[in-house]
Symmetry: C2
Subunit: 116 residues, 2 copies
């Protein structure tokens, strides 16, 4: 047996979580929401709507326009978006570590005894 | 903003979680899976199938037959089921407390600053 979980930030609905984090991570790398969405097997319109709904709930922009460059622009993560990503990353790592520990504390012993 | 999460025990699929805990809790009180399901707005057949699939994954019985009594029988939680419930209850409480703490640690400060 093992622990399973989903965790996210809520503000009148899902405001941030693993999926959005992954998407922004890929925007940072590719500087393109098109590319980021494609890498995640997500349609561009779905990715766009997701970002817009998160921004509405968070009340700050996650993506900005990158102007110029050889490819003629693209998307970039805003400073506020980066701050959120950094906090979320550390938060998420600690959640994982702690939940695993709590699970082991409460179930390891009883599992070894095969629930007798 | 706040933290939101779902947590459950997995063994080749969902093996136990808040819903099953609540259902068993009500079986303990009512000594009837019928009554317990009804209180949770769940059909008896759905509750029955849920219990069977959990038992299959856990590899031990959760419910047994209560024989006799004025109402002529009913359901009762097995000793293994009770052990699971007790462990789950303590596990769940600690999960809640810890996740709230981790959330505050990583987001309280930045929220106060309004993500500036």
């Amino acid at each position: 047996m093992k622990i399973a979980y989903k965790v996210w930030l809520d503000q009148n609905g899902k405001a941030f979580g693993d999926g959005p984090y992954e998407l922004l991570k890929r925007v940072e790398k590719t500087e393109s929401l098109h590319q980021a969405a494609k890498q995640m097997d997500m349609s561009y319109s779905k990715a766009w709507c997701l970002i817009r709904s998160l921004e509405e709930r968070l009340d700050f922009p996650l993506l900005g326009r990158k102007v110029g460059g050889p490819s003629g622009g693209g998307s970039k993560v805003t400073p506020q978006g980066k701050t959120l990503m950094n906090h979320y990353k550390r938060f998420r790592k600690e959640v994982e570590k702690d939940l695993e520990k709590i699970y082991r504390k409460h179930f390891d012993d009883i599992e070894r005894k095969k629930w007798k």
